[in-house]
C-alpha cells in the first residue's frame, strides 16, 4: 500500500519535472489556463456579437446593395398578376361600366338598391341639369350615352351609378372612419373642403354639397380616389378598393346630411354629437 502511494508520488514528481524541463508552462498549467480563458469569455460583453439579432436576411424596408435603387423589396414585373389579384369585376375595381354591363347590372342589383334607398335615391334623383338624360328614373342606365364616352360607342365606359355591393350600416361606419383618416385632412369632416391641410395652404377642393358633386355618379368619386383629380393626388396605394366604396357611401351620407329636412330626422338623433370614432380632431366640425 505504502509502496504504491510512494511510487505514484514519484511518478507525479517525475512528470512535473519533465513538464518543467520539456513542455511549455501553459500546457503544464492547463486547468488554470482553461479556467482563466473561460472567465475571460464570460466577461466578454455579449452585445458584441449581433449575429442572431441581425440575421442576414431582408426584412421589410431593409436596404440592399444588389439593386440600383438600394431597396431590397422589388416592384412587380410589369404585367404580373399576383394570385388573387385578377381584377375581373369591372364595376368593383374601376367604378366604370361598359354599356351592356351597365344595363344588365341595373336589373341584377335591384336588391342592392333596395337595401340602400337613401344612397341610390340621392344618386339618381338629382341629375345635373341638362347633361344627363334620365331615361328610366332610378335606373343606372340613365347616364348612358350622355357623358364623355359619347353615344354610338356601345363599349364606352361610363362612371358607375351604383355601388358594387349593398351598403349596410357597417359599410357606412367603415366609410366614416376611413373618410376621417384619408379625406378629412383636405375635404373637412363634413365635406365642405375646409380641412386642416387646406387651411395650411393646399388648394381648396370643391364642396361635396355643390350641385355638381351631388349629381355626380358614385363611379366618378371612385375614379377620383383611384386616379386623382386636379390638385388631388391618387389614393390608390393608401385606400384599398373595398374602403374606397365605403368612403363613397359615406360621402353620399354626408351629402344627404346637409340636405335633409329637420323633420325627417328621428327626434332621438337630433343634437346627438356624431364623433369621428375617437379620431384625433382634424378638420372643422360643422353642424
Amino acid at each position: 500500500m505504502w509502496n504504491i502511494e510512494k511510487s505514484r508520488r514519484q511518478k507525479a514528481v517525475g512528470r512535473k519535472q519533465k513538464a518543467e524541463s520539456g513542455r511549455p508552462l501553459w500546457l503544464a498549467r492547463r486547468p488554470v489556463v482553461i479556467c482563466l480563458l473561460l472567465t475571460a469569455f464570460c466577461l466578454l460583453p455579449s452585445a458584441c456579437r449581433q449575429d442572431m439579432q441581425d440575421q442576414p436576411r431582408y426584412n421589410a424596408y431593409r436596404a440592399s446593395t444588389t439593386f440600383s435603387d438600394g431597396a431590397s423589396a422589388r416592384p412587380l414585373v410589369e404585367g404580373t398578376i399576383p394570385r388573387g389579384w385578377l381584377r375581373e369585376d369591372e364595376l368593383y375595381y374601376t367604378g366604370k361600366m361598359s354599356g351592356a354591363q351597365a344595363r344588365a347590372q341595373a336589373g341584377a342589383t335591384s336588391t342592392a338598391q333596395a337595401t340602400t334607398p337613401n344612397m341610390q335615391g340621392n344618386t339618381s334623383s338629382q341629375p345635373s341639369g341638362g347633361s344627363v338624360t334620365n331615361v328610366s328614373g332610378n335606373n343606372a342606365g340613365g347616364n348612358l350615352g350622355t357623358q364623355q364616352g359619347g353615344p354610338g360607342n356601345a363599349a364606352a365606359q361610363q362612371d358607375a351609378t351604383m355601388f358594387p355591393f349593398p351598403i349596410t350600416q357597417d359599410v357606412l361606419t367603415r366609410g366614416q372612419q376611413r373618410y376621417n383618416i384619408y379625406c378629412s385632412m383636405c375635404h373637412g369632416m363634413t365635406g365642405y373642403g375646409d380641412g386642416m391641410i387646406v387651411r395650411r395652404g393646399f388648394r381648396r377642393p370643391p364642396s361635396y354639397h355643390d350641385e355638381r358633386l351631388r349629381a355626380a355618379p358614385v363611379g366618378h368619386f371612385f375614379d377620383v380616389i383611384t386616379n386623382g383629380w386636379g390638385a388631388m393626388p391618387d389614393y390608390a396605394a393608401q385606400i384599398p378598393v373595398q374602403d374606397r366604396w365605403a368612403i363613397i357611401a359615406y360621402v353620399r351620407a354626408l351629402q344627404l346630411s346637409q340636405q335633409v329636412n329637420k323633420s325627417e330626422v328621428p327626434p332621438e338623433k337630433l343634437n346627438q354629437p356624431q364623433g369621428g370614432g375617437g379620431q384625433t380632431e382634424g378638420g372643422g366640425e360643422r353642424h
Binding site: D54, D69, I197, G201, F202, P233, T280
Partner: protein, 227 residues
C-alpha cells in the same frame, strides 16, 4: 508565535462572508440596471433623420391620423413606412420650395427611396405583428408613447423581453377599446372606479374577454414570439 489578528477579527471574517453576498447581489443589481438603461436599450434617444420630419407637427398640430401614412398597421406585421408619394400628397403644394424638403423632392424625382434611420429595431429572432396588437385593442401610444408630442421620434419603450411580458402576463392593464387605439391621449375613465388604474383594469378585463384575447398561458408561451 503571537497572534497577528485580534480575536474580534473572527467576527469580521464571518461578517465579510455574509457581506460578500450583499456585494454580489449589489453587483448583479448594477448589471441589471445597466442592462435596462437607455444606454443599452436605446430608449429615449432621439434619432436624427435625413429629413427633419416632426410627428409633433403632423400628428399633434395638423391632426393627421397615424394610418394616413402607416397604412398597413391594421393588416400587416409591419406598420408601413410611407413612400415618398405620401409626402408629396401634400408637399407637392405646401412648402414645395422649402430647402428642408429637398431630399423628399430629390427622392420623388429620382425614384430612389429616402433612407430613414430606424428607431425601433427588434432582434430578428422575435416575431412581432402590428396588426394583431392593434386589432386586439393595444393602443399606439401604449408602446410608442406620445408620438404626437415628439418633434424627433425616439424609442419610448425598452423593447426588452421583460417589457413585452409585463403586458403579455396581464393584458387587461393596457387594453383599450378598438376605436381608441389611434387616439394618442386616451386614458380609461370610469366614474365608479377609484383611480385611473382601477378604471383601466375594470375596462381591460372586460375587453380582454370581448376581444377574445388568447389565454395568458398562450400569450406567454415561448413560441408565441420566438417562432
Amino acid at each position: 508565535m503571537p497572534q497577528i489578528f485580534h480575536r474580534s477579527t473572527n467576527t469580521l471574517a464571518k461578517l465579510s462572508i455574509f457581506g460578500g453576498l450583499f456585494i454580489l447581489a449589489f453587483a448583479a443589481w448594477c448589471l441589471a440596471e445597466i442592462n435596462r438603461s437607455s444606454w443599452n436599450t436605446g430608449a429615449f434617444v432621439e434619432r436624427e433623420q435625413p429629413v427633419q420630419f416632426s410627428h409633433k407637427h403632423h400628428v399633434g398640430d395638423d391632426g393627421i391620423d397615424c394610418r394616413y401614412c402607416h397604412t398597413s398597421v391594421e393588416t400587416s406585421a409591419w406598420a408601413g413606412m410611407p413612400p415618398t408619394k405620401t409626402c408629396m400628397n401634400c408637399h407637392a403644394q405646401i412648402w414645395n420650395d422649402s430647402p428642408y424638403l429637398e431630399i423628399v423632392r430629390t427622392s420623388w424625382r429620382t425614384n430612389k427611396p429616402i433612407e430613414w434611420t430606424r428607431v425601433h429595431d427588434l432582434p430578428d429572432y422575435v416575431y412581432f405583428n402590428h396588426s394583431i396588437h392593434v386589432n386586439k385593442g393595444v393602443g399606439c401610444s401604449t408602446c410608442h408613447g406620445r408620438v404626437d408630442q415628439m418633434p424627433i421620434v425616439y424609442q419610448y419603450a425598452s423593447l426588452q423581453m421583460e417589457w413585452c411580458l409585463q403586458c403579455h402576463r396581464d393584458p387587461a392593464r393596457y387594453l383599450r377599446p378598438r376605436d381608441q387605439v389611434f387616439n394618442m391621449a386616451w386614458q380609461a375613465e370610469n366614474a365608479a372606479a377609484e383611480n385611473k388604474t382601477e378604471a383601466q383594469l375594470a375596462q381591460g378585463r372586460q375587453l380582454f374577454n370581448a376581444y377574445h384575447v388568447r389565454h395568458k398561458a398562450i400569450l406567454q408561451s415561448c413560441s408565441t414570439c420566438h417562432r
